[in-house]
Symmetry: C2
Subunit: 331 residues, 2 copies
């Protein structure tokens, strides 16, 4: 599998995503070569409208629209989702080879931020029989880490703010200590970390009810000196717990961000389920039985991984669009 | 609900599909009006890459690519799907109001081709508790009804030809009397009609195994004089039967086409399930019990309707892209 340098803004080669179309044009018979039409990738641009929404999201949007209408930020509710065409095509072309995907060890957290580490910008995979995995790297023009940090202290205060982020899929959001989250006398880290955030959202057709414990990246396994050295000045990473089983960790989620000349660069990772490399988190040994109990098998993991990848692609690109104006108006 | 004149090639109003985004810009508070960012529909173009493919389709493509590779038309296998952005957004904005949708009576078949009848180009709905419904109107530049008729006599001869049409979702295809279908001494109608076509394909995540009985449109209820008068010179319409229950009709499918200055205009309708207006078809009274038996309820109907609408939008726009070159090379 070809890798894409995630340090520079390159378009993936059309060959890499056109798949059979391009391959067959060079591997077919002479006859076929003569008969073959020109491929028309130019039919669509760099950005595509999102062409599919689960029924639950179609319905959720109607509820969310009503809820947001009375809010001062109502004008920022934008139903018009779009994603980079090549990223969507890359994900829809199938999973990454699991052998090329990083497992959730502390060592690997530090590897994924390493300039020498190469991996496709977007992708999903199944790791073993109990883990869904998704990865992304998104560069957001006109967005800064300052806006990103503001967003994570501002949006959990009202569920309608959370709805702006993904108007068709976000349902509800609340935080344990809203006063602390809103206290601008404290640092970003003091406001967000150790202040559990309960979210409810649709991941594809499935409702996720989860508690995110945003945590200092050092506690998750990152070398904080290395993060700092490489310019990653913002993190909204943590361990997630299913709301009905709030003491068993089932997801390690990474969002680390830095400012670049092209805009904010965000690296995201989702390790959902159970894996030996999560043993450093309290009660991780209880996850395999819990997952078996709720029917989380390899097939569910595969669907979760792809849907998580699509969800991530959609919500972060949407936030990138709306965040500069929101920040300007409400920060 | 606003209607779109289907006789002319107009873009749907951005207001109609932007939904809350545009509405709220005019209904929000004065504060919000000032704060509101410009909507960025220009982020994507008229055409979008298909941004979501069910896992089964991602896997199916790998099989199909192998199967088509050795065929003389291998160069025409194109994995690069795209759809009109506004049509996809329209479908993803929710179902049509069932009261505005035509039921499958003979009278309504003639109404849908009537120049005075207005309806959105694309949409889906649930009619009662046992019927999924999808509609589309697609104008295909550079495509003619002659190519369309050629396609329906050419592609069912080999399943790999059928795969070209929707490389990620078409599985298998066969026809009862291939010699008759291939006999160019006969008319299109004599070759296709009364020559059952078994298809297997993914409609969203669900495998459909069905037998299509393509039939003279007059037998389905169309006024053939009216069709002719309005220029509809091609039909690939018929009644469909689930392969395991091949004597119970469960779908009325309409594809009627005519040549226009802008290209071939195709009107498509899918009435899937059971409805009193299908009583004119033999054994239709057996459908309700059969559908109950297989668990086809209102919820399944809704999913089927949306998935059918997405499938239709994808496969016909893809065929429109590949058909002119295929026809030129193989007719």
């Amino acid at each position: 599998m070809s890798t894409i340098n995630r340090r520079t803004l390159i378009k993936a080669s059309p060959l890499a995503v056109a798949g059979a179309g391009a391959m067959l044009a060079s591997q077919g018979s002479a006859e076929a070569k003569q008969a073959g039409p020109a491929k028309r990738r130019d039919r669509y641009g760099d950005w595509s409208a999102v062409t599919y929404l689960p029924l639950v999201s179609q319905k959720q949007y109607k509820e969310n629209e009503k809820a947001v209408r009375a809010k001062p930020y109502a004008a920022h509710l934008d139903a018009d989702l779009s994603v980079p065409s090549l990223a969507a095509a890359k994900i829809a072309s199938g999973p990454l080879d699991p052998s090329q995907v990083l497992t959730p060890s502390a060592e690997n957290l530090n590897r994924l931020i390493d300039p020498a580490y190469k991996t496709p910008d977007n992708g999903y995979a199944v790791l073993g029989d109990q883990m869904a995995y998704a990865q992304s790297r998104i560069v957001m023009p006109n967005v800064t880490t300052e806006m990103f940090k503001w967003w994570f202290t501002w949006h959990p205060i009202e569920k309608e703010r959370y709805m702006l982020w993904f108007p068709q899929s976000h349902i509800d959001n609340s935080v344990e200590d809203p006063a602390r989250l809103a206290n601008s006398a404290l640092s970003y880290e003091k406001r967000l970390f150790g202040n559990p955030n309960r979210i409810q959202e649709w991941i594809g057709p499935t409702r996720l009810d989860s508690i995110i414990h945003f945590t200092d990246p050092g506690e998750l396994g990152f070398d904080t000196d290395k993060l700092r050295r490489l310019g990653f000045t913002a993190s909204a990473s943590g361990v997630c717990y299913a709301t009905p089983m709030p003491d068993i960790p089932f997801t390690l989620m990474v969002h680390v961000a830095r400012d670049t000349k092209a805009g904010m660069e965000l690296l995201s990772r989702y390790w959902i389920g159970s894996h030996p490399d999560l043993a450093r988190f309290h009660n991780a040994e209880k996850a395999p039985d819990m997952l078996r109990h709720i029917g989380f098998n390899e097939q569910v993991a595969e669907l979760t991984a792809y849907e998580m990848s699509v969800h991530d692609l959609t919500e972060w690109n949407h936030l990138a669009r709306i965040l500069p104006a929101l920040h300007k108006a409400f920060s």
